[in-house]
Amino acid sequence: MAHFTKATSVKDWLNQRLAIDKVEKVMMSEYWIPKNINFLWAMGMVLVITFALLLVSGIFLLMYYQPNVDTAFYSVNYTIMRDVDFGWLWRHVHGVAASVVFLIIYIHMFTGIYYGSYKKGRELIWVSGMLLFVAFSAEAFSGYMLPWGQMSYWAGMVITNLFSGGSLHADGLVEWIRGDYVPAQAFLTRFFMLHVLLIPLAILGLIGLHFGALRIPHVNNQEGEEIDFDKEAKKYLAGDKAGSKVMRFANDFMSKDMMVVGIYLIFFFYLVFWNYGFAMDAVNFDPADGLKTPAHIYPEWYFLWSYEILRPFSIDIGLIAFAFAQVIFVLLPWLDRSPNTVPANRRGLFAIWFWVMLVNLIVLTAMGKLPPEGIFSQIGFVSAILFIVQWLMLPFITMFEKKV
């Protein structure tokens, strides 16, 4: 057993048992961040804050929500929205945060792609980040089932149907996932469990992994410069704060994080109080009705691009394309064959690849919502092909990239 002395203060008492000084150094004051970064590097903190908002609002909603097909809609739209003090506020915060979190995730993701932050030792940051994306997607989908409105029901029907695998006709698998032939009580209860327990646990674990994966390679910087963190840290600690290329995570970078969070929260609460319609689809304010298919069934905006990769093809090819789209981003660190860890604008063809990918995803997103008729289905078809071709081209484009 370690040697313990009589504590001189509460801090000392804790230090002997938890080494809080050391933890504080590793996590905060001597966790070194390059100075040459911009506000996009604060998106991680913005995501932490948004996740906290989701967690807290979710806990309040959980106190009144009833996972029962007969009462779920009522418990959300009457009990929470009308009866419970500020229930409407928690629901709007939860709904808007669930949508906005994906906007920030996409910004965070494309920041990583643009600056090459998945290369040389940072692969695991990328992979854990993409696993978080998958977990958040599952969390969003399962949460969308809970109000048991028309879109909950029909989105549940459509998405679980995907598991039949087209011509494979794995209907048994679909029934196993639903616990019934159609979305019903068993379906609602299990998605409730997934939404409030299993997936949040996975998310918490993955956040730990994501942060852990970041600690040793450190965050990337705006120019992809390789920094000798030990040397620069010594310089900082010796008092040359201005000359050092690095700064402390806390309070140095934290203060900038908080500034960005402050501006973000103004935008966020504007949406919560005055422009929440985009996150709370009107169709879902009609109670679920298995006999009445809505005229247009579409997922929330953040799933639209992958939905559109599924939609323009025949069922089997569509499912293969869809599966491809779901996993391909994870493989980015290995599909990009270039040794350069620099911003995309200095990487020749890759710069074009990046901007085309970004614009094409926006086109796919728009076409995924629009009805698949006439020109929209043609644009969607071309965009989906372009998406696949771009990924197939990536290793070749990057293989011949000049070393910078």
Partner: protein, 315 residues
């Protein structure tokens, strides 16, 4: 080193706004037909150019016009002859009490309704000769004089007994205009009227059975049970509800729902009542929203100042 942050911010904001525009306003514009409001002018109906005489109108309403054969006028001491579910069994839907018809409905619409109900209600497609069905409200073919004058007289009478427009609450407007076909369970409203609170479970079940009987008749008459309107202000939005009331055929071609015929002022009250059911916290949302904004802006200012202070030594 040049500060790239404004440029980066502009890129992020522009791409986000383009995406928002495409999936929200643009996609909804493509998916949903836009119907322009006609401001409840009922331009297709002939203007009411005769001045009505309320006394003469009263004679017609209770006499030759035979309105009170089916309609009650409680304010004039004429209660309903049958319970609502019995009336619905006879007519398909409970004929409305006429106490406030004069204020809730447009006068042009009322005059046309008396002369040709299916035309005024825009449900002629349901009552064609081939269908062999007749609109349950009988046409008024005149009491021997000028039919337009007689209709104007009856309208004048209905207006004379009704509440004044400013006395009509959103609830009264809704109950008159929508409440005999649509339930609004969040406001405790059934097609039979407000559900009372019962001490005895047996009485409650007896009431529920009557509601179900009413709904069966309504279903047979309309083709399906008209939806509960509790959350319609959120599921359809104000514009859809308003233009649907004005002319259901413009939004849902061939629907069994009749034109409601309310005045513009009453339409607003109906919408207000729907908000009272489906968006009860709208005032609180505004006030809490303002307070949260003030708090967050102060937070952002302090965060900005803190960042400036910390970073002073870093450059």
């Amino acid at each position: 080193m040049k500060n790239k942050e404004p440029l980066i911010l502009a890129v992020v904001v522009i791409f986000s706004l383009i995406t928002y525009y495409l999936v929200e306003p643009y996609a909804h514009h493509v998916m949903h037909k836009h119907v322009e409001s006609e401001h409840f002018a009922y331009a297709d109906l002939p203007a009411l150019d005769k001045t009505g005489d309320a006394t003469r109108g009263q004679e017609l309403v209770v006499g030759a016009g035979a309105c009170t054969g089916c309609h009650s006028i409680e304010v004039a001491g004429m209660p309903a002859a049958m319970e609502p579910q019995m009336a619905a069994a006879s007519y398909g839907v409970n004929p409305p009490d006429l106490s406030n018809a004069g204020v809730v409905y447009d006068e042009k619409f009322l005059a046309q309704l008396i002369k040709n109900p299916a035309h005024a209600l825009k449900v002629e497609h349901k009552f064609t000769e081939e269908s062999g069905k007749m609109h349950p409200m009988a046409q008024f073919f005149g009491a021997g004089g000028d039919i337009d004058q007689e209709a104007a007289d009856m309208v004048a009478y209905l207006k004379s007994i009704a509440l004044k427009a400013e006395e009509v609450t959103p609830k009264i407007a809704f109950e008159n205009a929508c409440g005999r076909c649509h339930a609004m369970s969040y406001e405790n409203w059934t097609q039979m009227g407000e559900k009372p609170s019962f001490k005895d479970k047996k009485d409650e079940l007896a009431f529920d059975i009557k509601v179900l009987e009413y709904q069966d008749s309504l279903k047979a008459y309309m083709g399906k049970l008209p939806p509960d309107l509790s959350m319609y202000i959120r599921s359809r939005g104000e514009h859809f509800v308003s233009t649907l009331m004005e002319n259901p055929q413009s939004q849902l071609e061939g629907t069994a729902m009749p034109r409601v015929g309310v005045t513009a002022e009453m339409a607003e009250k109906v919408i207000e009542h729907m908000k009272d059911s489906g968006d009860t916290k709208r005032a609180e949302r505004e006030s809490v929203g303002m307070n949260v904004m003030i708090y967050i802006i102060i937070f952002a200012i302090f965060a900005l100042l803190w960042k400036k202070q910390v970073w002073r030594d870093l450059h």
